[in-house]
């Protein structure tokens, strides 16, 4: 028997964990090795802010135990960096000096947080003790600990992650402020009206927002902004976005633009034996930073690695804020998407909704404050449903107003069990007569109240109009 091909996965985040899951489920014929630089087992990175908020414990977001890997014949190496890839010899070198040969290599190295140039946040020993990044479980633990003794926090960055961290700290009881260099919170996704609704929501929860302000220095007196404000803070969280972790790929001579450039098989355009998925990959000029596309890519690559020739043709992204008290979803790229825009704002409710349609297909949307339609919107978006002309309005508005009360027509069925109309009930004298002549009320019994309303009342002798059941 031919020995199984060796598959080495560099990285142990959500993309890598999903890839291994899918390969195991398909009984893929590989000897798999997974090498992660974090010491922890795989976990749901998107839930780190929930751990910080303490709506989840750290253990609750673990995806797979080390034992699971062993049970399924997967070699797991944690807490180890890969220093280089030797593409000629096809092996990877680890920091501890060991080498792992591969027949196929998957880069799932994720992304690194961007650290803005703020004077004083970086010291020769690393980040200033009061300054935090928020990407890994280790970051989360460090911040979690710091949050317990802190009163005031400033979050630098008003994007999705910044908002989630700000909410988490706020739920923990800290006074939180957000500093965003751009003109609005999530400005690139939301546009002015949406961003305004969001900012109102955030402020309503007690978190102050400074937009168009750059943090320039950090010292014991606080975080200094370029507009002259100094925000006092026991801790500062940097949530200024991230950049694909491509250093290893670059050093190995693979083509890298923003991410590791891959084709529709998620294969490096420079080397047939190397693949890249997740936040580190660049496909058709796009890099993501969300778990949805990372999982799509993991599934697509598992398919490819088990013999399918189905191409990966990109992902549809839904960015969903996970933060107590804030309702926000962004589908696609509403500011740049080409198409007709339909929007509705209700400042009284703090809600804002927008859909972008092209040729009847939903290509982007924003929902803030009222997500009652999200379960339909995302389905239409993911399935590229061709909608009718009036549907956008329905998606934004909700149901038409309830019909007005009216007398129940005689032909309306009152007792579904026995199939009895209002007219037949009206023709009866009393409950006993109803039971004897129509069997109504004898099945599930739930029509009893309505039947009583339709019968002549003992006092007036006149039947009630039965208006109360008109909307049923």
């Amino acid at each position: 028997m031919r020995p199984r091909e060796r598959l080495v996965v560099v990285g142990h985040g959500m993309a890598a964990a999903r890839l291994v899951d899918e390969l195991v489920r398909r009984a893929a014929p590989y000897a798999i090795t997974v090498i992660g630089d974090e010491p922890d087992p795989a976990y749901s990175r998107v839930l780190l802010s929930a751990v910080l908020e303490r709506s989840h414990r750290g253990a609750d977001i673990e995806l797979r135990s080390a034992g699971w890997y062993a049970d399924h014949g997967v070699r797991l190496v944690t807490g180890q960096r890969v220093l280089r890839v030797d593409r000629d010899r096809r092996d990877v070198w680890l920091a501890d000096g060991t080498r792992h040969g591969y027949d196929r290599l998957v880069l799932a190295t994720g992304a690194r947080p961007l650290l803005p140039p703020i004077h004083g946040v970086v010291t020769p020993d690393g980040l200033h003790p009061a300054v935090h990044a928020f990407r890994s479980m280790a970051d989360c633990r460090r911040l979690d600990q710091a949050a317990s003794g802190a009163r005031r926090a400033v979050v630098v960055g008003g994007g999705l992650l910044g908002l989630q961290v700000a909410r988490a700290l706020s739920v923990r009881g800290l006074d939180v402020e957000i500093v965003e260099v751009g003109p609005a919170l999530m400005g690139r996704q939301l546009g002015p009206a949406g961003a305004q609704a969001l900012a109102r929501g955030v402020r309503g929860l007690g978190t102050e927002v400074y937009t168009g302000a750059r943090a320039v220095g950090f010292s014991d007196s606080g975080l200094r902004l370029d507009n002259g404000f100094v925000l006092s803070a026991d801790l500062v969280v940097l949530a200024c976005g991230s950049r694909p972790a491509t250093r290893l790929a670059q050093r190995s001579g693979l083509m890298v633009r923003r991410g590791v450039v891959v084709d529709d098989r998620l294969r490096s355009v420079s080397d047939d034996h190397v693949y890249a998925i997740g936040d580190c990959a660049e496909h058709r000029g796009r890099v993501h930073g969300f778990v949805g596309p990372a999982w799509d890519q993991a599934v697509a690559l598992a398919r490819t690695l088990t013999g399918s020739d189905r191409a990966y043709d990109g992902s549809r992204v839904v960015a969903r804020l996970q933060a107590t008290g804030l309702e926000l979803a962004v589908l696609g790229d509403p500011e740049r998407a080409v198409g007709e825009r339909v929007e509705m704002a209700n400042p009284l409710r703090g809600s804002y909704r927008k859909v972008v349609l092209r040729d009847g297909v939903l290509v982007a949307a924003v929902l803030i404050g009222d997500l009652s339609r999200i379960g339909v919107l995302t389905q239409h978006y993911d399935r590229r449903t061709v909608l009718g002309q009036t549907e956008a309005a329905w998606l934004l508005h909700g149901d038409a107003s309830a019909p007005a009360d009216a007398e129940v027509p005689d032909d309306v069925e009152v007792c579904a069990c026995a199939g009895v109309s209002a007219g037949r009930i009206r023709s009866c004298r009393d409950r006993a007569d109803v039971v004897a002549r129509t069997r109504a009320t004898t099945g599930c019994g739930s029509c009893s109240d309505v039947v009583d309303l339709l019968l002549p009342t003992p006092t007036s002798g006149r039947p009630h109009s039965g208006a109360l059941l008109a909307t049923k």
Binding site: R18, T390, A418, G443, C444
Partner: protein, 683 residues
């Protein structure tokens, strides 16, 4: 006056029949606890089936010269069947004759039919339409609890719980008299959660209605367990003391946070959290699934995911709590216990278990080696008809697969490839119309027999009137065939005699009936199995001390969510789901012939107003509904009760199942009736 039970669903409501044939009337039997005197319109009108003008009263045999069915005597018909069986088995082997049973047959008939197949025909080719009904829940129940009984408690217990989850059940329409228990529950302050893509009359009663995309119930359950874990609502003590497998599920659901599940299921994340809190914070809760969750190519795993939810919340194995399945057909429960299922012998024994084979063979007076092994499941048996290793001759009892099978065009074509088809029924069903021999048999009030209802309660459906002249019981037919085939052993004709034999055959099995007899059922208004000896009180509530697994613990299962076998696309943009309506029952062979019901229940396709606007159709317009397998035209019913991305059709007419998908669950072999991709256009 006769106390008996309704001919239809698994509730088996007690009813009182008075008057003789032709003037029989239905009255309430208030003392019977399951329905306490309540009946739905199907029950009230059921006597219209007695003396119905379409009733078959003579055997019919197809004349090879004219191709027409013509009346024949019983001996002629039986002789013809025996000849055809001998011819098929002589030419192609024992498995060339298949038997297809039904979940509406009494325990006695189901038992004797299995015996006929294994002893007289010696064929492995026997299965029944319950495979399309209960099989996913049955398989899941065995895996999770070591035993499958629809409800592990009496139905009335649901009024005593605090939170009731109904997953894919439209109880208020499919079994209206059960709804009074929901109302009692709510009147006492209990809460109801309904999971259904449609806002059904059941969902109208709910405190919380979750409206998922068809085929995503599994992910929804994972989302609920995720929240239970995160919010410390897992009953750690119960999990430790009474279950195994929790850790794998805990990690699996880490990837199912509410916003992720919202994307998959179309259920808002906050509703998922609310549902989980209701389940997790309740002192007592029950999770009941029905066909909506079960009739999927991942039906077994979907049920297991909901069992996980119940177990994580500690809601099983004690009074007022538990997981249960709401059985569909009248004898959906008993019908799967006594040997008409391809892999089973009486007493819910496995046919590949040597000890089970030895026990049953001894009762039947044959050698264990002569019993065939497991055969194909229902859909696979029908899909192989006419193949070199499939059946060439088929005997159908109490089933109408031309209407009820998925991808029905394919099954119709397969039936046409048979050398011989025999159907025993009360009327000329769509399947009987294709038969070479049609046998007129008795129906519910014309015969006595036991049924096992949704509760696992064995009840006695008593004879109230004499059958029309010319009609015989299925038991007579089976016994006549056994005689004509010179089968070894006895084939009783008297129901009570057959039941006594069934008791012996079931003794020691999981569904042990040996302590139950007709007199006890009479005296006790039914007896719950298992009832392993005459003095035993029966078992209304299972699992109170231990689950039926070897180690006594219930099992969590780390089941994977996956997409439906067929997802919507540009050409077929809607999810199509199917189900029952109040006025009709199953393939409609009975209810479509009751005038009051036929008028109330017509075929339709339900769609949301925005979908109707998109298609430029109004309520009542003729719609062509098309899938990759077939097409049909039905009137539109425009309703806000359904998701805008989903359409619904009732399945009681030829039409719906021309469209449905025959993708099968890998374990239960349940077809994916509940979701496929469809196109709609004005007809």
């Amino acid at each position: 006056m006769t106390d008996t039970h309704c001919p239809y669903c698994s509730l088996q409501c007690g009813m009182r029949l008075t008057g003789g044939r032709g003037r029989t009337t239905v009255e309430a039997w208030p003392e019977f606890p399951t329905n306490a005197g309540g009946l739905c319109r199907k029950g009230w009108t059921s006597v219209d089936l007695l003396g119905h003008r379409e009733r078959l009263t003579s055997p019919l045999v197809r004349d090879p010269a004219t191709g027409e069915l013509a009346p024949a005597t019983w001996p002629e018909a039986i002789a013809r069947i025996a000849d055809e069986i001998a011819r098929a088995q002589g030419a192609y082997g024992l498995d060339a004759v298949g038997v297809f049973g039904g979940g509406g047959l009494t325990n006695e008939k189901a038992y004797l039919l299995g015996k006929l197949a294994r002893v007289a025909l010696r064929t492995s080719a026997i299965d029944y339409n319950g495979r399309w009904c209960m099989a996913s829940a049955a398989t899941a129940g065995q895996r999770a609890f070591g035993l499958d009984r629809g409800l592990p408690f009496p139905l009335a217990d649901i009024a005593e719980t605090d939170v009731l989850f109904l997953v894919g059940s439209n109880l208020a329409e499919t079994m209206p008299p059960a709804t009074r228990h929901l109302d009692t529950l709510r009147a006492a302050g209990g809460q109801l959660v309904v999971v259904d893509p449609r806002r059904t009359p059941t969902a109208d009663r709910a405190d919380l209605h979750l409206q998922p995309v068809p085929g995503t119930d599994l992910a929804l359950a994972h989302g609920i367990v995720h929240v239970l874990v995160a919010e410390r609502l897992v009953d750690e003590r119960f999990v430790t003391d009474r279950t195994t497998g929790y850790d794998d599920v805990r990690r699996l659901v880490a990837g199912f946070w509410p916003e992720q599940v919202e994307r998959v299921t179309g259920v808002p994340a906050d509703d998922i959290r609310t549902a989980a809190r209701m389940l997790g914070q309740a002192a007592h809760a029950m999770v009941l699934t029905a066909r909506g969750a079960e009739q999927h190519a991942k039906g077994t795993d979907t049920v297991l995911a909901w069992v996980n939810a119940a177990l994580a919340a500690g809601q099983a194995g004690r009074i007022g709590s538990g997981y249960g399945c709401i059985t569909g057909q009248g004898n959906g429960q008993g019908g799967r216990e006594h040997g008409q299922k391809a892999d089973q012998l009486p007493g819910y024994r496995r046919i590949d278990d040597p000890a089970a084979r030895a026990h049953v063979a001894a009762v039947w007076g044959v050698e264990p080696e002569t019993l065939p092994g497991p055969g194909r499941s229902a859909y696979e048996m029908l899909a192989a008809l006419g193949d070199s290793d499939g059946a060439r001759a088929l005997l159908v009892f109490g089933s109408n697969p031309v209407v009820s099978a998925p991808n029905a065009t394919r099954i119709g074509a397969r039936l046409d490839r048979l050398d011989f088809l025999c159907v025993a029924d009360i009327v000329m069903s769509e399947t009987a119309a294709r038969a070479d021999v049609v046998l007129p048999v008795t129906q519910w009030a014309e015969e006595t027999g036991t049924m096992t209802n949704v509760e696992g309660r064995v009840i006695l459906r008593r004879k109230a009137v004499d059958p029309p002249p010319g009609v015989r019981s299925d038991l007579d037919v089976i016994a006549d065939l056994a005689t004509a085939l010179a089968a070894p052993g006895e084939f009783g004709r008297d129901p009570e005699t057959v039941f006594d034999e069934l008791r012996q055959a079931s003794a020691g099995g999981p569904a042990d009936y040996s302590g139950i007899d007709y007199a006890r059922i009479d005296a006790e208004q039914g007896v719950f199995w298992p009832c392993p000896q005459p003095g035993h009180p029966g078992t209304p509530r299972l699992f109170l001390d231990r689950f039926a697994t070897p180690d006594g613990r219930a099992r969590f299962h780390a089941v994977e969510h996956r997409a439906a076998a067929e997802e919507p696309c540009v050409d077929y943009p809607f999810h199509l789901t199917t189900g029952r309506v109040l006025a009709q029952y199953q393939s409609g062979a009975q209810t479509r012939r009751v005038r009051a019901l036929a008028a109330a229940g017509q075929a339709f396709v339900e769609l949301h107003p925005v979908a109707a606007q998109r298609l430029a159709v109004a309520d009542g317009a003729a719609m062509r509904v098309t899938t990759r397998r077939g097409t049909t035209v039905v009137p539109a019913r425009v309703s806000t009760a359904i998701r805008p991305d989903t359409v619904f059709m009732p399945f009681h007419w030829v039409g719906a199942n021309l469209l449905t998908n025959d993708a099968l669950d890998p374990s239960s072999r349940m077809p994916e009736f509940k979701v496929c991709a469809a196109r709609l256009e004005p007809a």
